[in-house]
Amino acid sequence: MVDAVIRRSEVAVPARRRTGLRRTMQRKSTVAFLMALPLILLIGLFVLYPALYSLHLATLNKSMERFVGLNNFLFLFKRETFWMVVQQSCIFAITAVIFKALIGFIVAHFVHNVPAKGQRKWRGMLLVPWVIPPAMSTLAWLWLFDPSYSAFNWVLALFGVGPVPWTGDANWARFSVILVNVWIGAPFFMIMYLAALKSVPEQLYEAAAIDGANWWQRIWYVTLPMMRNIIAITALFSLIVTFANFDIVRILTAGGPIDRTHVFATWAFWLGIQGGDIPLGASVSLFMVPILAVAAIFILRDISKRGNEA
């Protein structure tokens, strides 16, 4: 008995050492981690590092020689333009997301009700605005809004309507920027809501029809409750992306006229790079974080609440 024990332990020890590393490598979590490692490194390098560096920059003075703590933020709070930018960013993001969601919801219904043969074609065509690189499509919109060569104004002139200052008047400029953002972003909502629509069980609609529900009641009592989580998540995602939008505003109006279309990202660029005050630019862009964090907490809390109720 003793011999057998000794022999087994003699054999067991080297075998354990050999399979230790191997076992680690064979575990699914290790493989998953290694596969995700390139992406983690990229995010660390291009997202995390700039964010932390930005935090550091925001605490420096204009010539980046002295540590000034939160003075940049205190300076910004006293600026009229800063609060205008906060207000404009919020109006821009909330308005654009509402319209994108609305249009996406309506168009998703239309596509859902198209006979199956033509659906793919329609889905493809309707996705085009979202798929074209935003800088390119925004440039096309810029030409459509051009003061001298606007195609819209040319058509309106045929009906005797005066030239519209699409980017020249503050309110028209805000409208134009929101319009382009909605045009580009609505397909994303459409495709998400289409997928969600397809996952609503058909029996619920049949039951509703039996109970005598009209189209509006079907939407209100069947569709919307089933899609609530998707709506909340897409709204949050789009809110964050729209809030941080740079390319559309930059190309269409560059923040003008008289700063009436500036959002955080464009104003940060204007102050930081064009104005040579990088710490102030960093402070402006960082101010998005608390606002978006509050929005994220409210929306996500709602989702988990509903999830718990279910």
Binding site: D146, P165, G168, W270
Partner: protein, 446 residues
């Protein structure tokens, strides 16, 4: 292991032989003996203009046996500004960079002083104008060399026929090619009446009220024509002064005759306005005329570039220099300085100006009467008065004479045009001035 023992005799012998070889042998010039040099130059608007600078640089490189690399970086999308900012942060990059207007002042801590090349250049080529001194000097040192490439005067470019027909102004008689200007009647009041007349006739002056340099330069020049300063040379706030009120009032009245969406104009809008034939005057260097020559010859042959109108306190035109700056962390400063001297020689300058079709303006006094400006056309003489050959207008830049770091902010944030737009859209002047004062006060922080 065997150890070779070096005797004292052998050591002395070898040292003497080595030093003799170094002293006696001529300076052995192999290819690239003087190292490498990299430049970042501005990608020119005028097609083909980059070739001239490439040739000049390569000619110097072949003579000096330096390996040179040139990058042409555009100012579209502020790519050149991003490059400068990134290199300053990284403390590495090109040896020489083309820096627009305000950027040498912004980067003064990272730039190598160039007094040793500027003094001889000024002695050779003539004095530089005050704007170049204002922007290119800090703490009594030259911090960059004024570049010919990209430097410009942003004065009026008018339609001869439209001004004559609708405003009764013969601009060619006022600014005749080959002779001094006869422009005593070319004042801000005449300009106002002409703007009104052309607006009524359906050919408004194409002056923008946006936030890009074309709009800001014009507004700044009108303010200076009234002696209006938002911040004076000492750095004091002087927003709520009579001069500023007068200037703002004039600009607001004038802006009523601008195109309705002038507040949204960028630097390309006025070019398009002229080339499309819709406008009687724009404020622009000859790039618009050069494109019209290609795309709308019937417009181009009616274009005439000339001086700014005179206001109560003087005739001021915007001069926008580019500079060539050297990083103080550069690796080959001696070669860089030698190249900058080469590019600032009269022959090199003339070659660059010709290649740009007369767009590029040298900053040195002796070089403002080159043949090219007299000969460019059609119409012949259209650019004769572009380089201000008779010094009949003061060259300045918007927001001068405020301390450059403050002026830079006023300029970039387009305070002048924003003031005009706010007042034009109905805001009472006091409120506009109060807003401007609070904004500019923020720029006084260090």
């Amino acid at each position: 292991m065997r150890k070779t023992k070096l005797t004292r005799r052998q050591f002395v012998g070898r040292t003497v032989a080595a030093s003799a070889a170094t002293l006696a042998a001529p300076f052995v010039r192999t290819a690239h003996a003087a190292g490498k040099l990299s430049l970042m130059l501005w990608d020119h608007w005028v097609p083909g203009a980059n070739t001239a600078s490439t040739e000049l640089v390569n000619e110097w490189a072949a003579k000096e046996k330096v390996e040179v690399a040139i990058d042409y970086v555009t100012s579209q999308g502020n790519k050149n500004l991003l490059t400068i900012a990134a290199q300053a942060q990284a403390r590495s990059g090109h040896d020489i960079l083309a820096m627009p207007t305000w950027w040498p002042q912004d980067q003064v801590k990272n730039l190598e002083p160039v007094d040793d090349i500027m003094e001889p250049l000024i002695a050779q080529n003539g004095a530089v104008n005050d704007t170049v001194k204002y922007l290119g000097r800090a703490d009594n040192h030259w911090i960059a060399v004024p570049a010919t490439i990209g430097s410009q005067i942003k004065g009026p470019c008018s339609r001869i026929d439209l001004l004559k027909q609708h405003a009764g102004i013969d601009i060619q008689a006022m600014y005749p090619a080959g002779s001094p200007p006869k422009a005593e009647t070319w004042t801000t009041e005449t300009f106002f009446k002409a703007a009104e007349a052309c607006h009524k006739a359906g050919f408004p002056f194409g002056i923008g009220l946006g936030q890009t340099t074309d709009s800001v330069d014009t507004a700044g020049a009108f303010f200076q024509a009234y002696g209006a300063e938002l911040v004076n040379a000492k750095g004091d706030l002087t927003v709520k002064t009579d001069a500023v009120k007068e200037a703002l009032d004039y600009c607001k009245r004038l802006a009523a005759f601008y195109p309705p969406d002038a507040p949204a104009w960028d630097d390309a809008s006025n070019n398009k306005w002229l080339i499309s034939g819709r406008g009687a005057l724009i404020m622009n260097p000859p790039s618009a005329w050069a494109v019209a020559r290609r795309d709308a010859p019937q417009v181009a042959e009616q274009c005439w570039t000339h001086g700014f109108p005179a206001g109560p306190k003087g005739r001021v035109a915007p001069f926008l220099p580019y500079f060539w700056g050297m990083w103080n962390f550069g690796k080959n400063k001696a070669a860089a300085k030698s190249l900058l001297v080469h590019l600032s020689q009269p022959a090199a300058i003339e070659k660059l100006v010709v290649a740009s079709g007369g767009y590029d303006l040298p900053s040195f006094a002796n070089l403002t009467t080159l043949k090219v400006w007299a000969e460019e056309g059609p119409p012949k003489g259209t650019l004769y008065h572009y380089p201000n050959p008779y010094n009949h207008q003061t060259l300045s830049i918007a927001a001068a004479p405020a301390p450059p770091k403050i002026a830079f902010q006023i300029y970039t944030q387009a305070i002048h045009t924003k003031m005009i737009v706010r007042h034009l859209q109905g805001e009472p002047m006091d409120k506009t001035l109060a807003w401007a004062e609070s904004e500019v006060e923020g720029y006084l922080r260090t």
